[in-house]
């Protein structure tokens, strides 16, 4: 191919990669309008909660649940935030370069999920105006408080992931610096100190950064978030050494499922079939299937322990989940949300001929929803039966809680779409 034709085809390729930034269809405006309506409703619900107090939720103590939908939401979003590093680790540390196309999608998912996790916590607090007390009294409390550990690790993880995203984005920003005059100012800020040969140094930095982030991942989801629950004998069902591995597996699984769904949607919307090959999905799908199957084993292990010869408190909580008022969401979650999708993904992995992208994405979507339900089932049932003979309570989220949970999801999508419109989400430099 002669030079002109090569340059033309390279131009075409770049235009394809930059499609979100170049074209804005009608569907985009509809989506933004719908999301803004949801976010406005969420802000109204939050206003109601701020003015009337947390009484507008259905949380109550000691008869009832002190924590509910918001905390389940928090744990869920922290889990999703592992996606970025999971893909980044696969690429950089295991040299699985076939996942490169979805790398930045995962990293953006991480940043946005962490922000939504922090927002969920802030909304759950009785005094969000005092949120900085967590920082002010950090030195005093970091030695003993599991929540302080959680705050520490989350802030560390967010900072490192943001750095990772920024560092890996620079070369692509430099490449399209001149294509988008309106964004040039923004790109210039992010390209501070840019030198054309810096990729070599950046690669080394991000290699070490990924190792540090992986360590934090274990400490985060398999550590501090789990220990908020797992270290408390006051709540039967929570107090378990299994809490760490349990939460970690859930986190990585839900994150991979989210990456599959998000990247598949983007791939379809922007016609990136050539750039994101199906082998990405067969690899991720199989891994997700195995992890989800492992998670089902962990669920079984937990319920067996709470049932076999367990103390009364644990036994009754397990009965609540398996046969009582939560059975109606537990069993569908287990069968439709985990078991069938996991088996589908594993069978597809074992028999590559049967692979179907639609099936993979559907299975992943079910798995994500099932994980939100599972987080809810971790937080709430154990809170409903105190160890002392207070009457048992009940809990299901109020309209305010549902509005806020939906609004947080809408906001996450809104931020993601904003990123798509401001920055290249695919790597430009590998052609």
């Amino acid at each position: 191919m002669d030079i002109l034709a090569r340059r033309a085809s390279s131009e075409r390729a770049t235009s394809e990669l930059l499609r979100p930034l170049l074209r804005t269809g009608r569907g985009f405006y509809f989506l933004i309008a719908a999301l803004l309506i949801l976010v406005a409703w969420f802000l109204y619900a939050w206003y109601v909660q701020l003015t009337q107090g947390l009484v507008v939720t259905n949380m109550r103590t000691p008869v009832g649940a002190a924590w509910g939908g918001y905390i389940a939401n928090f744990v869920f979003y922290v889990g999703l935030a592992h996606g970025g590093i999971a893909i980044a680790a696969a690429i950089r540390l295991l040299n699985l370069h076939k996942y490169q196309p979805v790398a930045r999608m995962g990293e953006v998912l991480t940043i946005i999920s962490l922000m939504m996790a922090g927002l969920s916590i802030m909304i759950d607090m009785g005094r969000p105006d005092r949120i900085f007390n967590i920082i002010i009294y950090w030195p005093e409390r970091v030695a003993t408080s599991s929540l302080t550990w959680d705050v520490t690790v989350i802030i560390l993880y967010f900072t490192m992931s943001a750095c990772y995203l920024w560092l890996t984005m620079r070369k692509d920003l430099a490449l399209c610096l001149n294509r988008f005059p309106k964004l040039r100012f923004l790109y210039k800020i992010l390209l501070i100190g840019y030198k054309p040969g810096e990729e070599h140094t950046i690669n080394r930095m991000t290699w070490w950064l990924s190792i540090a982030i992986i360590f934090l991942v274990v400490m985060l989801s398999g550590g501090v978030v789990a220990w908020i629950f797992g270290l408390l004998p006051s709540r039967p069902g929570w107090f378990s050494a299994l809490a760490g591995p349990y939460f970690l597996t859930a986190a990585i699984s839900s994150a991979i499922a989210a990456i599959i769904v998000v990247s598949a949607i983007l791939r379809r919307v922007f016609h990136w079939q050539e750039h994101i090959k199906t082998e990405v999905y067969s690899g991720l799908g199989t891994f997700l299937g195995i992890l989800t199957l492992f998670y089902i084993y962990l669920i079984f292990s937990e319920q067996l322990t709470m049932n076999y010869a367990a103390p009364l408190a644990e036994f009754l909580i397990s009965v609540k989940i398996l046969q009582g008022e939560f059975a109606i969401i537990f069993w569908p979650m287990l069968i439709i949300g985990f078991l069938i999708p996991a088996m589908t993904l594993i069978i597809q992995g074992v028999r590559p001929k049967w692979f179907s992208l639609t099936r993979t994405v559907t299975a992943s979507a079910f798995i994500i929803i099932a994980f939100w339900v599972k987080r809810f089932l971790i937080v709430v049932p154990s809170l409903l039966r105190p160890l002392l003979p207070f009457p048992e309570g009940s809990y299901s989220p109020s309209w305010v809680e549902w509005s806020i949970i939906a609004g947080i999801l809408a906001m996450a999508v809104l931020f993601y779409v904003a990123f798509l419109k401001l920055f290249p989400i695919l790597d430009l430099s590998e052609e």
Partner: protein
């Protein structure tokens, strides 16, 4: 493109040492430098313990030689709940806090120490709530914050809003609490209460010695710290008509509680939780029903 200024290894180590030195110095610098207006909010130090009003509203100081404890005679308690309502009046507890700081359970004799109705009993409609007491074949168990010596609530608080003071009381700093409710879920005795809405107490009923709490903070029994540090008894002990409650200083061998615990078999709830509660139950007395 500007060339980034190169610094040598030696200079870099100097910068590092300087930063480390600054960080170390700031750790040992007096907190008053950093937060001059928040001095007392950082917690009472030994020397500050004698200075003025502390923000638990008591304006009193802990005596490190004391170890406050309470003893309740379960055999004597008739379940009248005067302790519950007396506590509510004394401590400005609003109607929005329910159950109150003290809760009295009505239990059947077969219930055992924890007294939780079994699932079979629950199906038959047995509850621990009641309106008339005393009943034949029932016994009454008042519970409240036990001011544990190994309190999980104090351990988990991310801002130090709940703290264990030197005389054994577990107290609250209402103006520090962020309302995260981790202490509420950490307490195995469900002793803590949360202000889900703005508490309203009629002005004429407010006890000026006790702070009225704001919305969004956690509260609980304080063993009437504003009374007990001035040598008086907690309100619940004072109003009990059958003298089932006793309060005092465990470190004083002549105190009522020390003597009661020496002479009677006592138990505490959820011993295996390793919280070392300081409210003991004895079963010495007879029910007073006439």
């Amino acid at each position: 493109m500007k060339q980034v200024k190169q610094i040598g290894r030696r200079e870099f180590i100097k910068y590092l040492a300087g930063t480390a030195g600054l960080l170390l110095a700031s750790k040992y610098a007096k907190p008053a430098f950093a937060f001059p207006s928040n001095r007392e909010a950082l917690g009472p130090t030994k020397s500050e313990a004698n200075v003025g009003e502390r923000n638990d509203g008591t304006g009193t100081t802990a005596d490190e030689l004391k170890k406050f404890a309470m003893v309740i005679d379960v055999g004597a308690c008739i379940g009248c709940r005067r302790c519950m309502w007396g506590c509510k009046e004394e401590n400005n507890t609003p109607d929005s806090i329910s159950p109150l700081w003290i809760e009295v359970f009505e239990l059947q004799l077969e219930g055992g120490v924890t007294g939780h109705p079994s699932p079979q009993d629950l199906k038959k409609g047995v509850t621990t709530s009641y309106t008339e007491a005393p009943k034949e074949g029932r016994w009454y168990l008042p519970v409240q914050c036990y001011h544990c010596d190994n309190p999980p609530c104090v351990k988990v608080c991310p801002v130090g809003a709940t703290y264990k003071d030197e005389d054994g009381l577990v107290l609250m700093r209402y103006d520090r609490c962020i309302g995260c409710r981790l202490c509420v879920v950490a307490c195995p005795y469900s002793a803590r209460r949360f202000n889900w809405l703005k508490p309203e107490v009629p002005p004429e009923q407010i006890n000026p010695l006790v702070p009225v709490r704001p919305v969004g903070v956690v509260e609980k029994c304080t063993f009437c710290v504003h009374r007990t540090r001035r040598g008086k008894l907690p309100r619940c002990v004072e109003v009990c008509p059958v003298r089932a409650r006793h309060f005092g200083d465990l470190n004083d061998p002549e105190s009522e509680v020390a003597k009661l615990l020496k002479e009677n078999l006592s138990f505490r709830l959820l011993e295996e939780a390793n919280t070392e509660p300081k409210l003991f139950y004895i079963t010495r007395g007879k029910k007073w029903t006439s």
